[in-house]
Symmetry: C2
Subunit: 213 residues, 2 copies
DNA sequence: GCGTGGTTCAATCGATCGTTTAAAATGCTT
DNA sequence: AAGCATTTTAAACGATCGATTGAACCACGC
């Protein structure tokens, strides 16, 4: 039932989904939801919570990252490929395959924040950001904390944007449909673009540091 | 009335807004909307259309851009400052000040595309993308059409992301509130980051071109 | 076999949704 | 001022919403 709820909430949003639709898809009675959860809002919160708990486990396995000490020992090329993997993981999380409700639900929470948003940020966004920060700080050691944040934002922003633009990407790229290699191509581009951006930020920070000295 | 409708649709979305709320805010009868427009969907489409028509005029004045020939003659520094102005314009359009319904409505259209989305893309996104492309192609002449598109995406994506993350930005940056200089700071960072990214893409494209020769 | 606690069901509740109706109000021409 | 078309209004329509009810159902210990 929570699965059916997740799909529908992702597809049509909270206000656009009725508990009757959920019950129909889950093949149960409309009253079952109220019996177990209490209200529509609680169904939503439970569905999202379950959805992201399952995801958390998956990401923990796939996204295993070297410890800070190991990170110190890695070559620049290794760090860069780590960055690419991280970006690709985020892209796959948001876009798929397989197509999952996470991306859409998160996008909707940005429009209409509910009680679920802080949980999603805490459990998912911040950990991923922390990983990204560790990588970026190795590539650009001169960056201050605020600048590191902004660089991470610039990368995650690109990833999210592709998710957000999914419905009109063919329209924008003037293509009939997205190619199968879309995620790989996009991860490749974002990584290259970001590496250039990070290098530029590093140069700027180093120059500022020299000017201050 | 269309103004009240725009605000509410931006605030609560199409499914979350009732025509009674609209009528109340506009201080008219609920039937007035149906008399003039026919249905709730038509009210929405008209409101969005009017909203973006007004914006179009504003952006046409503010975003005046040199012709392609003029662009050829400009120095690199001038091109770069043009890029920063373009990025700042997009940020202000989406985030404000003043806080306008455009950004939120567009974000919602990405979740639930309606008949209004193609219009918004055609009238607003594509023209802005064209401008950006002209600037980027001056900065990175070796880039192919697809790569140019991707670089534009990487920039617009960052801009949109800051809009999308608005409700949780303080949470992410660990700040009580956003500073007054937020838009300016962000435009500055995105421009610097993007210039680095564009330079990296240019180097990659040039290297590929040499390898092919 | 029978009662008991937990669960599901069809049926229904009042509220609210988008929409319609017909009368009242308004503006404009003559 | 009268006549007519346009606009606004209060009231109501059927449909559907989230939520509730009480009976039916099921598994289990005795």
């Amino acid at each position: 039932m929570l699965e059916a709820a997740s799909e529908l909430f992702a597809e049509r949003g909270f206000a656009g989904t009725t508990i009757r639709e959920i019950a129909q898809r889950a093949k149960v009675n409309v009253a079952t939801g109220h019996y177990h959860f209490g209200s529509k809002l609680e169904i939503y919160l439970e569905a999202v919570s379950a959805q992201f708990a399952a995801l958390d486990a998956r990401l923990a396995v796939e996204g295993a990252q070297p410890s800070p000490e190991d990170l110190e020992r890695l070559s620049r090329a290794a760090i860069e490929s780590l960055l690419e993997r991280q970006i690709r993981t985020m892209l796959e999380f948001l876009i798929g395959p397989p197509p999952a409700p996470h991306g859409a639900i998160m996008q909707r929470e940005m429009c209409d924040p509910s009680e679920a948003l802080p949980m999603m940020v805490r459990e998912l966004v911040l950990p991923q950001k922390r990983k990204l920060r560790a990588i970026v700080s190795r590539l650009a050691p001169s960056l201050g904390s605020r600048e590191l944040d902004r660089c991470c934002f610039s990368m995650v922003g690109q990833v999210f944007f592709f998710r957000q633009m999914l419905p009109i990407l063919p329209l924008l790229f003037d293509l009939p449909a997205l190619p199968a290699s879309f995620v790989a191509d996009t991860a490749d581009h974002i990584t290259a673009f970001a590496l250039g951006g990070i290098a530029a930020a590093e140069r700027r920070a180093a120059a500022r540091r020299r000017a201050r000295a």
